[in-house]
Structures are given as structure tokens and as C-alpha cells.
Symmetry: C2
Subunit: 310 residues, 2 copies
């Protein structure tokens, strides 16, 4: 069983290294630093113990890769245009595709590109950053919440394909929680990502600065509650106490810069489409306008364009 890691940044590097370290047949598509990874492999400095993989199967182009049974998408969503050419090249037509990305809409895109595939969404609760070529620093956490995607967007339950992927990740030491309802899991993750990612960029703050500030906490709460109402309108009944649970959980976390903040500071494009526009559209289609989230999105769009001199 061949596994393709599509995108070898913090997420792809971390999970790919764990899978390879467990003896699986892993093939890394490496966009930046391909030469370095080909020569020196991968290093993961992890709170759970460091990993050094001096030799990995690294590829600079999809056409050089073997056809794989499992594809793990770990690109930034801002690069998802590339999936159109990558997926049919790298994966078998009936592959299982695990989307380790935030936001909405990617599994649907995967099934449009590979109609015979199985799409599984994975939500990573991972604090990890790429700190150099082929070098990932793992700060905290690491579990993945996974659920299978159905093209009709109904709850898929715990399918055989989902269980297979579960076993693979478990064998590599990755804690996996299965969800029979991927949509619900995605919206719950959005309830964290939408306020924390956006405000960390707009207010130039890490999670701890936000959570310790009275006005910022009020903002986090009001935005989260709007996500929860949006989710409910889309058919996912996240409880109202979920916001307080998330705020309390984040209080206990180490101070952390959300991925969008790291992207902004690195002058990379922000994942506005997957984390903001798609959820806004989904809620609007269900008849609910998430006006506060639209404001955050517009602020991010302004900042992103100026940041990259567009």
C-alpha cells in the first residue's frame, strides 16, 4: 500500500515522517526544498521525541511519483488549484484521499477531480511549524479527527475505508478520533479557526494575548457564536456551550500563533477562501448571513492584499 504525501510542509512533514518511521511505503511530493529533502531527508523536533529520517522517497514533480493507493493532501488550501493536475497523476483512480486541511469544500473538489475515489476529511489538532528545509518543529498535540465525505453532504457514518485509514495512522502512533459526521466535525473546527486565525492576523496577537484580553475575548465569543448559528442553519447542531468549551480549552493551551498568522508574517497568501468564504457561502445558501464573519473576511482580504503588495 503506497501512501502519497501531497505537500511536505509542517503538516505533511510531520504526519508523513510518522508514517514512514512506522515502516510504511511513503512518497513525499515536495514543492519547496525538494533538493534538500532528497539529499538529507526529514527532521522532526517533537515534544514526543525527535525523529530523523535521513532518507525518504522525495519527488519534485507529480509525474515522478508512483501511483499511490492513499493520498494525504497537506498543501495549503491556497495551492489547491494544483490538485487538478496532481491527484490524477499521483493517485490510483480508486484511491482513498485524506484531506488534512482546514475549511470547507475540498473533499467535494477531490471527488470532482477523482470521481472513483474515497474522500476523507481530517482535522488536525496539531501545533507544528516548518522551521527550515525538511525540518519541522512539533510543539504540541497531534490528534486527527477524521470522517468520510459523502457527495450529498449527509453523515457517512464509520465506513470500512475510514477504519482502514484509522488503522494506518494508529499504527504510526497518531491519535485518531473518528467522526460519523464530517460536516459537524468541520464546523466545530471552524468555530475555533474562524475567530482565532482571523483575529490573530488583524490584531497581531497569539492565542494567549487574545484569550487574556477582555475585549478580544468578547470578540472571539461573538464570532464563535455566529459560527455556531451558521452551522446550525447548515444542519449541524453544535451546542451553544461549545463556545465556552473552546475558550476554556484555548486558555489551557500554550501560547500559539495560528497558521494564518504565520502565513501573514511570512507574506504568504492567507487561507481566506476555505476558512471564510466557503463557510459564508454555505450559511448564506441555508438562508443565514454571517455578517460578523464577513467583516473579518473583508479585513483579512484587505490585509492580505497589502501584505503581498497586490
Amino acid at each position: 500500500m503506497k501512501i502519497a504525501i501531497i505537500g511536505t510542509g509542517a503538516v505533511g512533514g510531520y504526519y508523513g515522517a510518522l508514517l514512514a518511521n512506522a515502516g510504511m511505503d511513503v512518497h513525499f511530493l515536495v514543492h519547496s526544498n525538494f533538493e534538500h529533502v532528497r539529499r538529507h531527508g526529514l527532521i522532526v523536533d517533537s515534544v514526543n521525541g525527535d525523529m530523523v529520517l535521513p532518507k525518504v522517497n522525495a519527488y519534485g514533480a507529480p509525474e515522478d511519483m508512483p501511483r499511490c493507493d492513499i493520498g494525504i493532501i497537506a498543501l495549503k488550501t491556497t495551492s489547491n488549484e494544483a490538485l487538478k493536475t496532481i491527484l490524477p497523476t499521483v493517485l490510483k483512480p480508486d484511491a482513498t484521499v485524506v484531506v488534512l486541511q482546514n475549511g470547507l469544500g475540498v473533499e467535494r473538489q477531490v471527488l470532482k477531480i477523482l470521481p472513483g475515489a474515497t474522500a476523507i476529511g481530517g482535522l488536525c489538532f496539531l501545533c507544528a511549524n516548518k522551521i527550515g528545509p525538511g525540518h519541522v518543529k512539533h510543539l504540541d498535540y497531534g490528534a486527527i479527527r477524521m470522517g468520510q465525505y459523502r457527495i450529498d453532504e449527509k453523515a457517512a457514518g464509520i465506513t470500512d475505508q475510514l477504519s482502514t485509514v484509522h488503522e494506518i495512522f494508529s499504527a504510526a502512533g497518531v491519535p485518531v478520533n473518528l467522526s460519523g459526521d464530517l460536516g459537524m466535525a468541520r464546523w466545530e473546527k471552524l468555530a475555533w479557526n474562524i475567530p482565532f486565525n482571523g483575529l490573530s492576523v488583524i490584531l497581531n496577537a497569539d492565542t494567549s494575548m487574545l484569550i487574556q484580553s477582555e475585549p478580544a475575548q468578547a470578540l472571539l465569543r461573538t464570532i464563535m457564536l455566529e459560527v455556531i448559528v451558521g452551522a446550525r442553519n447548515c444542519g449541524y447542531d453544535i451546542g451553544e456551550d461549545f463556545a465556552e468549551t473552546m475558550i476554556a480549552a484555548t486558555k489551557k493551551m500554550v501560547a500559539y500563533e495560528p497558521s494564518m498568522k504565520l502565513d501573514y508574517d511570512g507574506k504568504r497568501p492567507l487561507e481566506i477562501d476555505a476558512i471564510y468564504r466557503k463557510p459564508l457561502q454555505a450559511a448564506a445558501e441555508s438562508g443565514y448571513r454571517m455578517e460578523k464573519i464577513r467583516m473579518i473576511m473583508l479585513q483579512l482580504e484587505y490585509l492580505d492584499r497589502h501584505n503581498r503588495m497586490l
Copy 2:
């Protein structure tokens, strides 16, 4: 007829210099740079021609000033606590007080302090900055919209006291537009100040950067429309086309950093209370929650505290 200029920054320095230049008996309360102004007077570099007043009546403390007939409040609203001691010291009990400040609530405060006074609100359409001790740079505009305040907050009409103040400013060459309905005039000004002041700080942008950006323009518009609904709920029926009028007018303005942006960059306190909290409260009392403006306020509160290390 003695005139007290209470606060000799950009606004007080500019209008005070014009009044003194026209031969009126003007007395300046100078908080910072008192010694400099006492010795060297005031300089105004103006698009309408420069003014040099080598000698002005400058005072470092209210108790040194003569009792005046007219008081012109040109402090930042963030210093309004000081009015409690300044006004009774500097003004006659039946003085006419002209509040050249943004936001809501100050005229009421003035009448609480000096119950026998006449309170007039003045909205300055002025681009001017203090660029040094006793030195104001006047970039553009300069008109004042004035209306009398009634303690019951009803429209006062064009009163005799208002006409007197009108004559004084007109004699000094200041264009004055009278309003019989100060509340309406204040809310119209808020429809500009609330979006432009807040977003200029949050997005680190001048008026031109905001107005030329598609997402920022969408933000300006949605915030303005909320102010307009808030005003309507408070009994001030600003037309719905007012937002487009303001956006079009700002497009024609020279690029300008709103006063709140200058305060932020100078690490001075932001006028959040007068420009955001008071209007939010007024609208809430009328039964309308301006949720978008609350978000902007919370963002500003966070930024203001971090900016000043509070």
C-alpha cells in the same frame, strides 16, 4: 467678549489663531508646550495662507485665565474628565460653550457642569495636524457645522446664541453651516467617523488606501449603513443614500490619516468612548444593537490597550 480656547492642539490652535488674528480677545489654555506658546505664540501653516501670531494670551493652568464669555472646547474627548474643573474656573456661569469634538454626549456633560450655560456642538470638517509646539499644519477644509444642544435632545432650531457664535466665527473667516438639529448633524458625522477612524487604525491605512480597496470599501459601506440604521432608531432619519454620498466625497479628498490613526501612531489614547461607546449605547437604548460597530470598538479597545502597554 472674552473667548477661551480650551485645548490648544490642531483644532484649538487653528480656530483660536483665526479668531485672534481677526482681533478678538482670545485666551488659550495650553496643556503641553505652554512655555513655548507663551514665548513664541502660534504658527499656522495653512493652505489658505500662513499665519504667524508671535504673541498670544497663553495660560498653563485654568486658574490663571480670565473668566470668559465663550468657551471653545478643543480637547481630545479622552481628556474630558478635566472639564469638571476647567469649565467652572474658566467660564462665566452663563457662558456659551462650543464643543468642537467628535462623538456623542459631551454637550450633556457640559450642561451638567455648568447648568446655566448654553451648549453648542460644532463638527469640524478640518484636515489639520499639530506638527510641533505651537505649530499647526492646515491641510484642507475648515468649515464647522454648528447646532445648539437641548437637554431634552430635541431639535433646538436656529437660536440667538447660535447666531451670535456664527457671527463670531464668520468674522474670523471660518465657514459655518448652521443646523437646527444638532443630533442629526452629530450622527451624520459619526457615519463618517465610525468607519474611517476605526478602520484606519485596525487596517493601518489612510482614507485613500481604504477607499481604493474593494474589501475595505465594502467594510466602510456596511459599517456606515449600520450607523445610519442606528441613527434612524435614535430619531435621526439620515437618508440611505448618505453612505454613497460620503464614500464619493471621500474619494475626492486628499489622502488623509483620520485623527484616531494619528493618536494611535502617537501612542495616545483613542477616542473610543465618544465615537463608539456612546453611539452604541444611544442606539441600544432605542432598541437597536449595532453589532458591527461593537466589533470595531472591541478591536480598537484591544489595539489601544496593547499600544499603550495597559
